[in-house]
Symmetry: C2
Subunit: 190 residues, 2 copies
C-alpha cells in the first residue's frame, strides 16, 4: 500500500433521541500515512433514509479527487439511517469497508426496526445486503462489512491505517470531529 | 523531543464581517507523532476581548492532562480578539508559540485598531507584548511569537511537528476543523 493512497473516513455525530431531527455526518479525507487533506460536514436526518444521498454528496467539488477507499463506522448513521454498501460501491466505483467494534445484534436490530418503522422491510433489506465478518487487529476483534474489495485486502488496509487500538485513523478522526461538533469536546476512542 | 509529548494547537473559524457576532475557537490535542487525542470547540466573540478567557477554558476537564506546548495560528482570533501570550503562559505555566505565515503589518494593524476600537490602547498593548521573529522551515519563512520557551526550542518543535509545507500539524488540524465547521468543508493548507 502506498502512503499516498487516500481514504474517506465517515462517521456520524451523536444526537438526543426524540429531540433531534438531524445530526451530522463527517467525512475525513486522509492519506495512508495519516495526513489529513480535507474535512467535509453534512447534515443527516435521524432515523431518515438519506444516508446514501448524503454520503454520495461528499464526492463533489474539491473532494472529488482520487479516493481509493471509503471506510465507515458501521452502516447505520443518525440512528437507523442505513447505508447501502453495494449502492455506494456501485455509484462511486470505490471499495467500501464498514467496521464496528462489537458484533451487531441482528435480532435486536430487526426487532427495533419492525417495532418503530413502517418501512422496516426496506431497512432490513439494506442490513441484509452484507453480513459482518469477524477479523482480529492488534488482538482485538472487529466486525467488517465490505463491497468491491476482498477480505485479505480489507485486513491489510485496516492494519496499515490503525495507529493505536483497533480503529483505523480515518474513521477515528471522523468520530472525534463529529462528537466534538455536537458535544463541544471529544476525547479518546471511537 | 519524545513522541509522547503533547501540543494543544489552536485556531479560529472564519466569519462574515458585520454579520457574525461570534465564531469558533478550536483546540486540537495532539502528540508529537501527530496522533490526535482530543478536540475542543468553543465560541469566541468577533472583535471581542474574551480570547484569553476562552483559551484558558480549554484547560478544563479531560483536557487538563499534561500539555507540554500551546501552539496558535497568530495572536488574533475572531478578527481583533487578541491573545495575551504572556498571560496564557503565566496562567498555564505552559510554553506558548504563535505562528503566522506572513509578516504581520503592524502599522496597518495599529491603524485599524485606532480607527475601529475605543479601547485601542489596550489592544495595541497586547500586540506589543511580543514582536514576531522570522524563522525558516522547509525553505519557507514563518513568523513566531513565543513565551516561556527559547527560539532554538521553538524552531525544533516546529520542525518536528511539520509534516508537509511549513505549518505544524496541531495548528493545521485546528484550522482544517474550524474552517470545515463554519463552511461545511475545508481542504488543504492553513
Amino acid at each position: 500500500m502506498k502512503a499516498g493512497l487516500r481514504i474517506l473516513g465517515i462517521d456520524d455525530g451523536p444526537f438526543s433521541k426524540n429531540v433531534d431531527n438531524e445530526t451530522i455526518l463527517v467525512g475525513v479525507l486522509m492519506k495512508f500515512n495519516s495526513y489529513v487533506e480535507g474535512i467535509t460536514i453534512k447534515k443527516i436526518r435521524v432515523d431518515g433514509t438519506d444516508a446514501n444521498e448524503i454520503i454520495l454528496s461528499m464526492f463533489n467539488g474539491r473532494f472529488n479527487r482520487e479516493i481509493n477507499f471509503i471506510m465507515t463506522n458501521g452502516i447505520t448513521f443518525g440512528g437507523f439511517n442505513i447505508m447501502d454498501i453495494a449502492l455506494i460501491n456501485e455509484k462511486t466505483n470505490i471499495p467500501v469497508i464498514s467496521i464496528v467494534r462489537k458484533k451487531p445484534d441482528l435480532e435486536s436490530i430487526y426487532s427495533a426496526l419492525k417495532k418503530h418503522f413502517s418501512d422496516y422491510e426496506y431497512r432490513i433489506g439494506l442490513i441484509n445486503k452484507s453480513y459482518p465478518e469477524k477479523i482480529t487487529v492488534n488482538n482485538n476483534d472487529l466486525y467488517v462489512n465490505f463491497k468491491g474489495i476482498n477480505l485479505t485486502d480489507v485486513k491489510n488496509i485496516i492494519k496499515k491505517t490503525v495507529k493505536m487500538g483497533n480503529i483505523p485513523e480515518p474513521v477515528r478522526m471522523a468520530h472525534l470531529i463529529a462528537t466534538a461538533i455536537i458535544r463541544g469536546e471529544s476525547y479518546g476512542k471511537v
